[in-house]
């Protein structure tokens, strides 16, 4: 115990014998740690934001479809409104919200223009808790009920169609017998989405209105289900899949949107690689500092050995020196990261490259997120690898022959 106290004290004092060197090294560690955290927070913020937005526009963490629907999104690949066991599972504790939807490809025409869109029939009351569109409808109103005869379209689509609130447009799709199913609608609401693609891709009508128009009685195409969070959807998926039976396909968001699922995985890998690369760049300096610190104390170390200090005490003294250096650097780096991320939490505007970010699937505002897990990971990696890096100089110091060391010039 006393040895430990002596070692710690010696290490601490040695650290400040050459305060310039220590301060430069501390600055390097602090900047490195800051960069690890800041970059990670930015990346995490971007990807988590992407996933949250995607979960709102897919929507849901898990979706149920007819097994053929994903490959062939046709009106005939439908399913019954949930009942019995599936309905019970949907009202179970894993599910925070769910919504049945009619979802078919369609053509929308104003008097001037036509566009291809995805027509979605929704139950407004159930849709509210799961999809972005109810909150995003900023002009006009959202649908008031399943039988509402109005239509909600995106702002960009309204623009290209040359139409506006209160005007009529025609929706055209097919019924199960491949007869044209069309109907005129009045635009009652216009939504603004964070990502412009959504504004052009989707139009919304009432669920029963859609079923009537497409001549599908009580049939739907999709059940969107939200759970508590996007990270761990397996329990939710399993409970729904068990209830849905083998004829229906139950898929989590990361399979519905393979790109996003991959991004999340790539990001986890990237964070680790980035932290290790920064550490490696730091480690050269760290080892160098320790080697120098040992080198200029050769005689002193020889003397201590000659006076009977055990080699392992020397070894631990060098390692403690390195740990102290790392800990102070980590403390400063963590504080710096925290101090720079907090003021940026309202978002960093990158609308200069908005369309590029859209290509990545991200929005034009970045919200850095400093996750506890990442902070712990970075700190642990730095300390553990730091100790590994200091082993060689420390080992060398403890192996000196006292006589040779003392007589060294």
């Amino acid at each position: 115990m006393r040895t430990a106290a002596v070692v710690a004290r010696l290490a601490w004092r040695n650290l400040w014998r050459n305060h310039r060197r220590t301060i430069i090294m501390l600055a390097a560690i602090a900047i490195g740690v800051w960069a690890m955290m800041f970059m990670t927070a930015l990346m995490r913020g971007m990807v988590n934001d992407m996933v949250r937005d995607a979960v709102k526009s897919l929507p849901g963490h898990v979706q149920v479809h007819n097994a053929g629907y994903r490959d062939d999104p046709s009106v005939v690949n439908s399913l019954e409104m949930p009942s019995g066991e599936l309905l019970a599972a949907l009202n179970g504790p894993e599910v925070t919200a769910w919504a049945p939807r009619v979802r078919v490809p369609a053509v929308i025409s104003s008097e001037r223009e036509s566009r291809g869109v995805t027509l979605i029939g929704v139950d407004p009351a159930m849709e509210r808790d799961i999809s972005f569109v109810t909150d995003a409808t900023t002009t006009g109103r959202f649908l008031e009920g399943s039988a509402d005869s109005g239509l909600i379209i995106g702002a960009k689509l309204a623009d290209t169609l040359d139409t506006e609130l209160g005007k009529r447009v025609v929706l055209m799709s097919q019924d199960p017998d491949n007869e044209i199913a069309d109907r005129g609608f009045r635009v009652v609401g216009i939504f603004d989405a964070k990502v412009q693609n959504l504004e052009e891709a989707f139009v919304f009508i009432g669920l029963t209105t859609a079923q009537k128009m497409l001549r599908i009685d009580r049939q739907i195409h999709e059940i969107a289900i939200a759970g508590s969070g996007f990270r761990d959807v397996a329990p939710l998926e399993n409970s729904i899949a068990a209830a849905a039976g083998p004829e229906l396909s139950v898929l989590p968001w990361f399979e519905l949107d393979a790109y996003l699922g991959t991004m999340l995985g790539v990001m986890d890998g990237f964070v680790l690689v980035w932290i290790v690369v920064v550490f490696l760049a730091l480690s050269f300096g760290l080892v160098n500092t320790l080697v120098m610190a040992v080198f200029e104390r050769v005689r002193e170390i020889g003397l201590m050995l000659a006076l009977g200090m055990k080699p392992y005490v020397i070894l631990s003294q060098i390692i403690v020196e390195s740990i102290l250096l790392l800990l102070i650097g980590l403390l400063i780096g963590n504080l710096l990261a925290w101090a720079t991320v907090i003021p940026l939490q309202d978002g960093i505007d990158v609308s200069m490259v908005a369309e590029g970010m859209e290509m990545f699937g991200a929005s034009a505002v970045l919200y850095p997120e400093l996750l506890l897990d990442d902070v712990i990971m970075a700190n642990v990696i730095v300390v553990v690898l730091g100790i590994v890096a200091s082993l060689s100089p420390a080992w060398r110091a403890s192996r000196y022959q006292p006589i040779e060391a003392i007589t060294k010039a």
Binding site: M39, V107, R115, G285, N288, V291, G356
Partner: protein, 409 residues
């Protein structure tokens, strides 16, 4: 200079381990920079080429406003004639005229909203890679054949094959009802689901008849021999567009703003990371140089009292750093280039690359090549950072008092 150089070189090897550790930090960063920058530049080039090759071309002539709204009536009058005169004026035959509209495409069993593009069968293969991707059947061969090619995904969803009929229903340029029946002459497979799902091509003459375009069209696509020639061809094209018409010429960047911005966003993140690496190396160098100066205080005191000026000593220190920098530079480039050549043989890939590649029109493996700019860019910056880092230790020599220096411990 000869003696200074010799002194500097010898001084470096007084502490070989320190020199190698410092140079090691440079080599490590340089290898990462060389490899990553080469990979990125290679990827960007492929992203641009592949994206533009499929469809966009390098520049397009359009009616004003068409780029944003894509409305049918924003058309180019007498487009075919203008296309011909551009071909003659520019002296190239990679010029093709297109028109586009949305329509409901119905087969016997299915209907989907699609984009219908009218193309010139004689010229389209010269500007777009799509005609070459026809895997079944053939590309339409006459300008007014009632034929169409469709993508694989759309063909599957429509449940059609080569030789089947497709009914197109949409609206013409004047807003009136437009319909036609075409025969599927071919099916293309671009490997990109979005493209293979969303549109069909028919001959321009047919398109103009069906959609009441008369002699008008929407875009004249021009492909240049190389990306670097685009600016010149834009200027030339602008001078060839008939005076008095309000037609506009857009280059690929304007046509595809997401592309360049995605690259910029990616680069911005990358610059941050590279910047951090360079700063960490600079700290490592600063530490080393400062230490080597401090431990030679007495020596410097002696040579100064013998008449050596602080400026000369400063140059010596900077020269030592530069020599170290050159070692880092040379080894970094050699190892980095070796790595690129090695990876270039087998291609580079990482988990999740498939989905990313799909999104950004890239192949699933990247084959980086050794190129001058990415090879030199990173190491040059590291070298400059290194020399800058030695400025402070070198400048300190100006305040050195010979007598005190000689007495220094």
């Amino acid at each position: 200079m000869g003696i200074t150089l010799r002194l500097a070189w010898r001084n470096l090897w007084r502490q070989p381990r320190r020199t190698w550790l410092t140079a090691g930090a440079m080599i490590f960063s340089n290898v990462i920079l060389v490899f990553m920058v080469s990979l990125q530049f290679g990827m960007y080039g492929m992203m641009i080429d592949n994206t533009l090759a499929v469809f966009t071309g390098h520049l397009q002539v359009q009616a004003p406003g068409y780029i944003d709204d894509k409305k049918m009536r924003q058309s180019i009058p007498d487009a075919v004639a203008l296309g011909e005169s551009l071909r003659q004026g520019l002296g190239i035959d990679t010029v093709a005229v297109r028109a586009s509209a949305f329509a409901l495409a119905s087969s016997e069993e299915r209907s989907f909203g699609v984009q219908v593009v009218g193309i010139q069968p004689d010229y389209e293969p010269r500007v777009s890679s799509l005609p070459g991707l026809v895997t079944a059947g053939r590309y339409p061969d006459s300008n007014d054949a009632l034929e169409a090619i469709v993508g694989t995904v759309l063909a599957r969803n429509l449940k059609v094959d080569v030789g089947d009929e497709l009914t197109l229903i949409g609206s013409g340029r004047d807003g009136s009802f437009a319909a036609s029946i075409v025969i599927i002459s071919g099916i293309f497979d671009s490997g990109m689901a979005d493209i293979d799902r969303s549109f069909i091509q028919i001959p321009l003459g047919t398109f103009q008849d069906v959609f009441f375009m008369e002699s008008a069209a929407h875009e004249i696509v021009i492909k240049t021999a190389d990306l670097s020639l685009v600016d010149g061809v834009v200027a030339q094209t602008e001078s060839l567009v008939p005076a008095g018409s309000d037609l506009v010429v857009h280059d690929w960047d304007a046509l595809n703003p997401g592309l360049k911005q995605a690259i910029q966003a990616d680069l911005a993140g990358a610059w941050f990371m590279y910047g951090i690496l360079v700063i960490l190396v600079a700290f490592s160098v600063l530490n080393t140089v400062l230490m080597s100066v401090l431990e030679r205080t007495r020596e410097f005191g002696i040579v100064m009292s013998l008449g050596l000026t602080p400026g000369r000593l400063g140059r010596l220190v900077m020269l030592e750093t530069s020599l170290m920098g050159i070692i880092g530079f040379v080894f970094g480039i050699l190892i980095g280039a070796g790595l690129i050549v090695y990876v270039g043989i087998n291609g580079f890939s990482y988990p999740g690359m498939d989905e990313m590649a799909d999104r950004f029109n890239m192949p699933e493996r990247i084959y980086p090549t050794v190129q001058m700019l990415p090879l030199l860019l990173g190491p040059t910056i590291v070298f400059v950072g290194t020399v800058l880092a030695s400025l402070y230790p070198a400048a300190r020599l100006n305040w050195l008092e010979p007598v005190q220096a000689m007495r220094a411990a």
